[in-house]
């Protein structure tokens, strides 16, 4: 177990290293001048030079990379126009936002978390529940309705559904306020009402996929011998389905759920754009448009961290669900 964890963590670090090198090369090694985008509007040649100097863009790429990494681990001193000393997870300074990138992230990451976590709970419960029920009631009206729902949901476009929801609930019926983010600690009611449309939208589309998947898995499991054996032994139906079959059916779903939640945490770009909420995804898109290198790097890195961590969690969950999986 410990050995597995250590090996898993090592690969995770290696993966993150590769991601950071790749994105560093991609964004800092671009043919166009990275500075022009980052300079404030009234930019003269002299100031451009200074920015270039302070970002260390004259140094060879490996040195820039080393400095960047050092900043994350120990913090580093940035030029005076970049707010001076930058403490340990230092991700650089954004001229576009006029603040340290770490500050930007601490502001926008909670927004994305607030969108994704409730939505994920909703879509997992709804999707897996619906899939299980329709598998157990195969061929009934309920099953057919569930299949219809999941096929329709899986074939729809997020921004399309989002726009329709907005039109109906916010502009026509005026049930929900214009989507916005308020911290849950300031005002939980406002937090929920501002994000509820985004949750519903994400949950609708994702639960459709999960319903389809878990229905197929459950049907396959129900035809396995061990389910029949358990029934033949006289185990109660509910226990067989709830304990024996569900456990076996849910394993592949955990893998996919881990990946989905992980990548959603890295920024729900389309959702945030549709509802005009400034989360991690929107920030990344804005940064790319403005050529704001430090912010781009930081958003790419943090979403990679989310995915890698989600993968490790999935592996651990696997072992908990399926005793046959021995972590070596």
């Amino acid at each position: 177990m410990t050995r597995f964890l250590v090996r898993r963590l090592l690969t995770a670090v290696l993966t993150l290293f590769a991601v950071s090198v790749l994105s560093f090369l991609m964004f800092f090694g671009l043919p166009r001048d990275p500075v022009s985008g980052m300079c404030p509007k009234n930019c003269n040649a002299e100031r451009l030079e200074r920015v270039r100097e302070e970002l260390g863009l004259r140094d060879p790429l490996p040195e820039q990379y080393a400095n960047y990494m050092k900043g994350i681990v120990t913090g580093r001193d940035l030029g005076s126009s970049q707010g001076g000393r930058c403490d340990a997870p230092c991700l650089g300074y954004s001229y576009v936002n006029s603040e340290a990138v770490t500050d930007t992230l601490t502001r926008v990451v909670p927004v994305t978390l607030s969108i994704v976590i409730p939505a994920a709970v909703l879509w997992l419960v709804l999707g897996v529940g619906l899939g299980m029920i329709s598998a157990l009631r195969r061929g009934t009206l309920l099953d057919r309705l569930a299949i219809g729902f999941s096929l329709a949901g899986a074939s729809m476009q997020l921004y399309f559904v989002g726009a329709v929801l907005l039109l109906i609930f916010t502009y026509n019926l005026r049930i929900t306020p214009t989507p916005s983010y308020t911290s849950i600690f300031d005002n939980p009611v406002k937090w929920a009402s501002g994000l509820v449309l985004a949750w519903i939208c994400l949950a609708f589309l994702f639960s459709a996929i999960y319903a389809r998947l878990s229905r197929a898995q459950m049907l396959e499991t129900l035809s396995e011998d061990f389910v029949r054996t358990a029934r033949a032994k006289g185990v109660v139906k509910r226990k067989v389905y709830g304990r024996h079959a569900l456990r076996a059916a849910i394993t592949p779903i955990v893998t996919i759920a881990g990946l989905d939640v992980g990548s959603a945490l890295g920024g729900t770009v389309i959702t945030e754009t549709t509802f005009g909420i400034q989360g991690l995804g929107r920030t990344a898109v804005d940064a790319v448009r403005a050529g704001d290198l430090p912010t781009i790097m930081a958003t790419v890195l943090i979403s990679a961290v989310f995915i890698v961590v989600a993968n490790i969690v999935v592996d651990l969950l696997y072992a908990a669900i399926d005793p046959r999986v021995r972590l070596r």
Partner: protein
């Protein structure tokens, strides 16, 4: 050299039986898995309907110039005289008339029907090409990783992990304009063919991972089977093992993965258009059309409705067909 009995069967699967299989045939007739799957597919009404719908879409897309000629309106023709002072189409339901079946675009006044036909051509081409490329890369990587195991497997699996950890949309957003800038100056116009190639390339770079994982898993379970052992014992080379022994056994999952990949690239391309990258004006493109129509949801619902519903039907048909294919190719399925 054909040592495996599975191979011949699988080859038949590649070329579905030419003569229709009669389900009620008396007596015992030997049938290959391919024939069985085809027979099952033909009995599946949903599959047949969605298949016909897809063929219709593809034919419409391929015949776009011909349709434009018959319809009498080109994709870039503007009908400003049919718009009111605010640039909204005159008449009811977005300006639907006998000449303009689905009405006109607000502001530019182009015909929606013919732009959809042309847009479908762009979208379907990108989706099919991207699905082909990603499936090819994914199969090659997965089969190598699964069969060779050891260090090759570790490296390929790790590359898969890295590719999965990169945020696709952000990278696409950064790469697409830069590549255009690199080959064409900031003032020059990027030709549509180049935009298409860039999009296919970016889908290929990120999309192969899921197929690779799928194929790798399948190969690992096939690797220890007798027919592989037999081939190895009789001195088959690596190429023969991979492509003549293993690959034929993988057609079913690959086909399913392919048919489900196409709709995901159609929607993926639409999502990229939504973020402002992708195919630029004036080339007609389905994804961009939907994204451009959304601001008119309240003022001109017909403009949103036609492209939105069409892409929904298109993606739905692909999903249904993919599901049916999975059922038909699964030897365990009872249907």
């Amino acid at each position: 050299m054909s040592l495996s009995p599975v191979e011949g069967a699988a080859r038949a699967e590649m070329e579905p039986a030419a003569d229709p299989v009669k389900p009620d045939e008396q007596g015992i007739v030997g049938r290959s898995p391919g024939q069985l799957a085809w027979a099952r597919l033909r009995r599946d009404r949903t599959a047949m309907v969605s298949g016909v719908v897809l063929v219709l879409f593809v034919v419409l897309a391929l015949a776009a110039p011909l349709i434009a000629k018959l319809y009498g309106v080109g994709p870039n023709e503007q009908f400003q005289q049919l718009l009111d002072g605010n640039g909204m189409p005159l008449g009811y339901v977005g300006g639907i008339t006998g000449d303009h079946w689905f009405g006109l675009e607000p502001r530019l006044g182009r015909d929606i029907f013919i732009r959809m036909i042309y847009g479908m051509r762009t979208s379907l081409f990108i989706a099919f090409a991207a699905a082909l490329v990603t499936t090819a890369i994914g199969v090659a990587a997965g089969i190598l990783a699964g069969f060779l195991g050891g260090i090759v497997d570790t490296v390929i699996s790790w590359i898969t992990d890295v590719a999965l950890a990169l945020p696709f949309l952000i990278f696409a957003l950064a790469v697409v304009p830069t590549v255009g800038l690199r080959f064409y100056g900031p003032r020059e116009e990027v030709p549509p063919a180049f935009q298409v190639i860039v999009l296919i390339g970016i889908f290929a770079a990120f999309g192969w991972t899921s197929t690779a994982r799928l194929v790798r898993g399948q190969v690992i379970s096939l690797r220890e089977r007798e027919f592989v052992e037999a081939a190895r014992a009789s001195g088959a080379g690596l190429g023969h093992m991979l492509f003549r022994q293993l690959l034929p056994n993988l057609w079913a999952p690959i086909l399913v993965a392919f048919s489900l990949a196409v709709p995901s690239y159609i929607t993926g391309e639409a999502a990229l258009s939504f973020l402002g990258i992708g195919i630029l004006e004036p080339t007609a493109d389905f994804g961009r059309m939907i994204f451009q129509s959304i601001p008119y949801l309240q003022t001109d619902p017909a403009y949103v409705f036609f492209p939105g519903v069409t892409i929904f039907i298109l993606v739905l048909a692909f999903n249904l067909l993919g599901d049916a294919l999975r059922d038909a190719l699964d030897p365990k399925s009872s249907r």
